[in-house]
Symmetry: C2
Subunit: 359 residues, 2 copies
């Protein structure tokens, strides 16, 4: 990954967003800029300096992680004097940017008290915008993470017919991903069976998976901070009812159409439109109760968001999910999700588990 | 748990904090007030109404969870019209409170745009203050969760001498807690050995634990939302060096003194003072690089915080951790942590794993 060059990208944007310096406090943004993974880090990006502030718990870690990333920064370890450090970095009259999507109202007021005579400027999504395009090192991590989830799923599906609990399957998936080299699951693994599959964000329960259940499995691995994301749906016993097959086929069709539509230059909203339109043709529009996709990277949901309200354009190098689903109260649900890298003339999936209703 | 009566506690406080109604958006606060566990929930607490707002993903879940908690609320499922709902609840001229520690600068500005003619008021820690005191149902969950972590640790320590990796131990702890009934670990389990034990927040690695390593194990279980928190330290091979024993004894002494000092009416800061003073007597003051403790409950770090900067008073019914530690670069570290319930004349630990340097 080209971590060391990223602060320069922020620096180049300072003028455009109308600030002299930017304070970065969102952990994923701090990590992207420096490699520092601690829970408490603040970066000050000025025209000619990068200051990294943390507390005593992370004194050793921040030095080691900045060094590993090749990042040159002035490190300040403090528990109390953040205001003083900021005041030194931002002369009176300076325009100081804060991440308005991350800084709380209370923190904003604290910054204002620390920094009289400076203008606080709301900076919205600058880092998130830069993070959308993945460099080769980031893509490689996402691809390897996705392969670990593929491996874990291929092992777990063999168990689905043996009346396991949702938790049994989730635990096996998590353990296998780690065995295959993952640092951890990239989010809480979802194994939602029968009526639970009607809840898009169900947590695995001790419910026994029965042969005639639809089972949604949503699983990803995290490697070096980067998390993959994939969903498959099965009928546990391998013998779908007519209705289950109809739902499954509709979602497969919608998901394939969505993936087919992804390419450089395409409106993000269009991917959502395409999926929604296919499900509408099958009379399932009202059963699709969430957005179609999102970026993945250091956060499991990051920009861009693919929904009816999206306003951006897909660009080569972005990595997004395409994940339409249908959810019917009591009866269950189906969701199919791939993560894909946007290319000049289409996209390349990084999730490769077979799509079939029979486990 | 007495969930249904909690909105009334907020209602009783509206006047005191100078608002006519409060919008609650922090997930732990939403859950505490209603039992709703979705990732997107907003509550509007007015003098005579409770409005719960979420999106289509959670339509079924919010109805079921409010019902299970016995909470009466007007449920609004929407993706776009939050502003309209708020405007109806807050007549022109109303003073509308927002959680200033949770609402971002951008969200604040969004609320202001939605609600012209209303006064937005920063409400700081009202819910967090109410949540500090645990009711019998909450205490019971914390105690049962703590017992699951105790059980998992008693099984894992037997492996420490067999050259496992840190991850092996962490995975076994997590799996055992779930086997014993936990919903999940209440935070990322820490198993930090040798030099890694010098990092208070280390993540488990593939490092093999050697016999002469200090090993810090920080582990908790979550049950019904409530998470326990405990730390023990061992020398893996059971044969501490003179220095290891010295560090261990100093932390044990500091931790016992801290626990001994906990009681209704005691200043929070005093617990921190006591631990710091003992470690200072052992020449280890600079090696204690974090606060002494924190509340536990629906969040793993919640109020009160026990640190040199604390200003509050401990009260009967609070559940706090006492967890001094020392960290020496390269050589490792020792941390001992119990969670205790504050009583009128002392406290009762809810974590019961034996404290001994030999596993």
């Amino acid at each position: 990954m080209e971590v060391a060059s990223r602060a320069e990208l922020v620096r180049d944007a300072l003028d455009r967003v109308g600030v002299d310096l930017l304070v970065v406090t969102k952990p994923a943004n701090v990590r992207w800029l420096t490699g520092f993974t601690g829970s408490n880090g603040q970066l000050v990006v000025t025209a000619d300096e990068l200051i990294a502030i943390t507390d005593g718990r992370y004194r050793e870690q921040i030095a080691a992680e900045l060094d590993a990333s090749g990042v040159t920064a002035t490190v300040e370890v403090t528990t109390t004097e953040v205001g003083d450090i900021l005041a030194r970095a931002a002369p009176s009259g300076a325009r100081l940017g804060l991440e308005s999507q991350h800084v709380t109202w209370k923190q904003h007021d604290q910054f204002a008290a620390w920094l009289p005579g400076r203008e606080l400027v709301a900076v919205d999504s600058l880092l998130e915008e830069l993070r959308k395009t993945k460099d080769p090192g980031e893509r490689s991590r996402l691809e390897r993470a996705a392969a670990m989830a593929d491996g874990a799923l291929s092992r777990a599906v063999g168990e689905l017919g043996n009346r396991p609990t949702e938790r049994d399957i989730a635990q096996q998936l998590d353990a296998t991903m780690i065995e295959l080299g993952a640092d951890e699951p990239s989010y809480d693994t979802i194994v939602a069976s029968g009526p639970n599959a009607a809840l898009p964000h169900a947590h695995p329960t001790r419910r026994v998976i029965e042969g005639d259940d639809l089972v949604i499995i949503d699983v990803g691995a995290r490697l070096d901070g980067y998390g993959s994301d994939m969903t498959r749906t099965f009928v546990a016993g391998g013998d779908p009812s007519g209705e289950q097959q109809r739902l499954y086929d509709a979602v497969i069709e919608a998901q394939a159409a969505g993936v087919e539509a992804v390419a450089d230059g395409v409106e993000e909203r269009h991917i959502d439109d395409v999926c929604r339109s296919v499900l509408g043709d099958h009379g399932l529009l009202d059963a699709f109760i969430h957005g179609t996709g999102h970026g993945i990277g250091l956060e499991i949901h990051e920009e861009p968001i693919l929904s009816p309200r999206s306003t951006g354009i897909l660009r080569t190098g972005l990595v997004v999910t395409v994940e339409p689903g249908v959810y019917l109260s009591e009866r269950g649900g189906v969701r199919i999700e791939d993560s894909v890298v946007v290319t000049d003339d289409g996209c390349e999936p990084i999730t490769h588990s077979p799509k079939r209703v029979v486990p």
